[in-house]
Assembly symmetry: C2
């Protein structure tokens, strides 16, 4: 049995170190990934993927931790993928936040992993789905993908999840900011955390107003609920779990679950193909290599479109 | 003469509406772009590209406006490209900020343009270099690319510019945040704006400390200066202009200017090629199309790497 096969067998049997090593293959963009993904294939498609996003300071880690507690009470095996798209550093970037997760650090049925995606060849869209495949095949019932809501990452995360939870807090990352960042289009469930603080009512009201504003819903469409929580005390978490179950039921019933997973697979395939092509582009053995073409563009001998044509001819020859 | 040729001729003669229409071709990813880029080619390579980035609230628009005033006093023709990578909306997203630029709105030698890059097929790396080509060919001596410092956009902008200016302000987006966001690796010139406010000394000190921390500079390498400004009153702007000139001299002298422009051209060619490939991927006439492959991955018949192989075979046949 190859090393990769051994890792997969052990990960399937619940060995946390083998799960970690498989995810490291993803982070390192290892050549062994191809074999790993083929070996994991028969065991996938079981996990529910929940995306969790929100601006810094809304209480994402605390909420994630409260979700994990609730899911463990329901006897679910849980994977957590904390993606920090704003950090160029690997692993340690979210360490401060991860400390809050230490309640679950010794639980054999909880896998916790931070991933930095910046600097990665294919970025978030390349690495996260493959890490999800590992956690799915390792027997996780639910995988939580937590990401800092900056730039376009939250919209990318929504593309990866079955259900996307958008987190807000009174006074921070208010509804208008959220609208500007585009996250009011991606939430399936909205959570106003720190609901015991001043301004919570206003945030809920504002959010409801903004969600209704853009609404042109057909009968049978999903209406994202708004739920108040105080995650640090576990308040409101059961309501969120109910909303997640309800959304999952709706997804399954309407065929939307299949559509979302289809789209996710298409994005994943595309990201792998594009990454493979980018690698070939720099390869001087393949006709007109990028380096020469860039010289000719700088010297105004070639426009960038003509250069791209020549590059593609070389690739597809 | 084709429509595109007419636009290029008029843009070259200083017609602002033709410049705007050419940039709209970029925003719309128009098929006419190929012809436009070929027609613009002989007129490029003249403009100096200055990137300007910083967290929200540090005074980017005010600083840009002060830079423009200083550059106009030096009789430079100026283009401004305000890129908002966090906004899914086109054009209007930065309108509030643009109001502060109205001092220059009637100046024939200043072109101002906002661009939203999210949702764009190729994103910032696809659209911005092409918009730069338009402004360059239209006779701009300097193009300022202003972007909100969120997520990875500032690092992308640094890849587009000859010189990158990183803006900070006391108490906001402090040096540690900047370090976390990775912008301490990309600045050629650091500006601490609102330097009349409390905490300015501490910000400068902290910034200097952090810049020195990572320093392993060879003799002859560029040491990024830290300059204090109060952009709203024009204070310190002349010093920034001097630093920019000095950096440009260093770039030219060391061959780094050529290297940066080469890298920029390579990124641009690659982005155009990848975008073209992505378009082909969805095309059902080309062998195994993405849609079918995604179905087979969801059904666990194929792993994503095998699917990507089949996709590429179809593309390169």
């Amino acid at each position: 049995m190859s090393d990769v096969q051994t890792l997969v067998t052990r990960a399937r049997a619940g060995d946390a170190r083998s799960v970690a090593r498989l995810i490291s293959l993803v982070e390192d963009a290892s050549p062994a990934l191809r074999e790993a993904m083929a070996a994991l294939l028969p065991y996938g498609g079981h996990a529910t993927v929940i995306g969790l996003t929100g601006a810094p300071g809304v209480g994402k880690s605390t909420t994630t931790s409260a979700f994990v507690t609730a899911l463990r009470q329901r006897d679910k095996r849980v994977g957590i993928l904390a993606v920090d798209p704003s950090s160029p550093f690997s692993g340690g970037a979210l360490l401060g936040d991860r400390v809050r997760m230490q309640d679950h650090a010794l639980d054999r049925n909880v896998y916790i992993r931070s991933m930095a995606s910046r600097g990665h060849l294919g970025g978030l869209s390349w690495s996260t789905p493959q890490a999800l495949r590992v956690l799915d095949a390792a027997g996780c019932d639910v995988v939580l993908v937590e990401t800092v809501g900056v730039g376009q990452s939250e919209v990318e995360v929504a593309g990866l999840a079955d259900t996307t939870v958008v987190l807000l807090a009174p006074g921070m990352g208010d509804a208008i900011q959220a609208a500007k960042a585009g996250i009011l289009e991606v939430g399936d469930v909205y959570v106003v955390n720190k609901a015991d603080r001043e301004g919570a009512d206003a945030t809920v009201r504002e959010l409801r107003h903004m969600l209704t504003l853009g609404e042109r819903r057909e009968p049978g469409e999903w209406r994202p609920p708004i739920i108040r929580t105080v995650a640090s005390r576990g308040e409101g978490i059961d309501e969120v779990m109910e909303a997640l179950d309800k959304h999952h039921g709706w997804l399954a019933e309407t065929g939307e679950l299949r559509r979302r997973r289809h789209r996710r697979a298409a994005d994943e395939i595309e990201a792998i193909a594009v990454t493979a092509l980018r690698e070939r582009m720099g390869d001087p053995r393949r006709g007109a290599a990028l380096d020469d073409l860039a010289d000719r563009v700088v010297d105004a001998e070639l426009d960038p479109y003509a250069a791209a044509d020549l590059l593609l001819e070389g690739l597809t020859a």
